[in-house]
Symmetry: C2
């Protein structure tokens, strides 16, 4: 995928940067998605590009929440498809939750490209936005969802989400788990559980946590997870000079 | 240029985001430039999106350095062309310094698009990369420069620069003034003077400072400007929780 030598000090960051540009060239990711990726790079840099304790706590809480949901759904946009398609498919299988395409800057062509990307990475089925079901509390085209997917869900995993939609899903009474490198974003502050980490690092850990929960019977609730306190810890890590 | 209402709390940030996406659509800015813009957004957010004292000190030092140079040159890439073309032309006039196109991801088409963008914003002349002159210490196509421009320059203003090129210019003995929102970047740490600020805010201030210096006779050297100390102040502002 990349010409960057593996011993380059910025190898992982440059590899992801090339993956997201390849996503644009493949019609999967939007140009605005590139800007969002750049913001993520900066926050991750300030976090020392590592998974912190607060992220592990959020992942444990998310695994518990998602494994207890009756109708969990995984919402997929252009950035996560470009970065972690294979692990989204693994998460879908582990959790028994459908994948549903939902993007901010609507484009039928791009929705199809994301679907094809997931299918190429092993997905059996991918739900698509439909006019048969609409979310309340949201104006944009993102309100169109699949009746058997996001519409019916009680818990939704939406990595790299936008603030308006996160808020709409919460107002509809759905539990929202997000992954966001900016602990100060509206999405981070609105979600039920925010994993402040790079989605590339967090997703395998979430899958491991779900597999572990399945082995143990999935009944250990993480004690007293508080999203706002957890976000405060994440912001402190960004602001502190010791990462 | 934008559909975002002026009273939107994120108006300025969204306006710049649209300007940079428009730059890509106009063939001026690269896709990697969008990622770089996103990184800048995140650092600017942490800086409270304001011009700090350390940036004003760097601007004063930069105005002095550039006004004293025998052959100052302004290097223009796709991001600054998309964001501040008009003020680059004003700076060129104020300073009596040529504009020269120099981009990281080489493309003759994009070089021409940047040139046309500057001409459309009032530039009389724009120097282009040539094979008649090469910078030392640099492998990429960025080494090709204009013999009467960057090659001959003793001081170069290169906002939003990459680390390798900044280092090469310094090794050739040229003074480098850059604008970079990340005080920890290689560019920031290699330049003679780094203005840690949004280029959209910094450029008018630099022009004002040059005009002020011209009125006063341009002989007041800012006392004891130390780039590394100034960068440390900028990093402290990003890390501190009081912006």
């Amino acid at each position: 995928m990349t010409d960057v030598p593996v011993n380059h000090p910025r190898y992982e960051s440059l590899r992801l940067r090339e993956a997201i540009v390849a996503g644009v060239n493949a019609g999967v990711t939007s140009q605005h998605g590139l800007i969002a990726h750049g913001r993520g790079e900066a926050y991750d840099y300030l976090l020392g590009e590592q998974t912190h304790t607060f992220a592990r706590a959020a992942i444990a809480a998310a695994a518990h929440l998602l494994s207890k949901a009756r109708h969990p759904v995984i919402s997929v946009n252009g950035n996560v498809a470009a970065l972690v398609a294979e692990n989204l498919v693994r998460l879908s299988e582990t959790l028994g939750a459908p994948l549903e395409v939902n993007i901010f800057h609507t484009s039928k062509t791009r929705e199809e490209a994301i679907r094809n990307c997931l299918l190429a990475h092993g997905a059996n089925d991918v739900l698509m936005p439909s006019t048969e079901a609409e979310l309340a509390f949201i104006e944009s085209n993102r309100r169109f969802v699949h009746p058997q997917g996001i519409f019916k869900s009680d818990a939704i995993f939406v990595p790299l989400e936008d603030g308006d939609r996160c808020q709409a899903l919460r107002k509809m009474g759905k539990a929202v788990v997000t992954v966001d490198l900016n602990p100060m974003s509206r999405t981070s502050r609105t979600a039920s559980i925010t994993i402040v980490d790079n989605v590339v690092r967090a997703l395998p850990l979430l899958i491991d946590a779900l597999e572990g929960a399945a082995v143990r019977g999935g009944d250990q609730a993480p004690a007293n997870f508080d999203n706002m306190l957890n976000l405060a810890a994440a912001e402190a890590a960004i602001r502190a000079n010791h990462v």
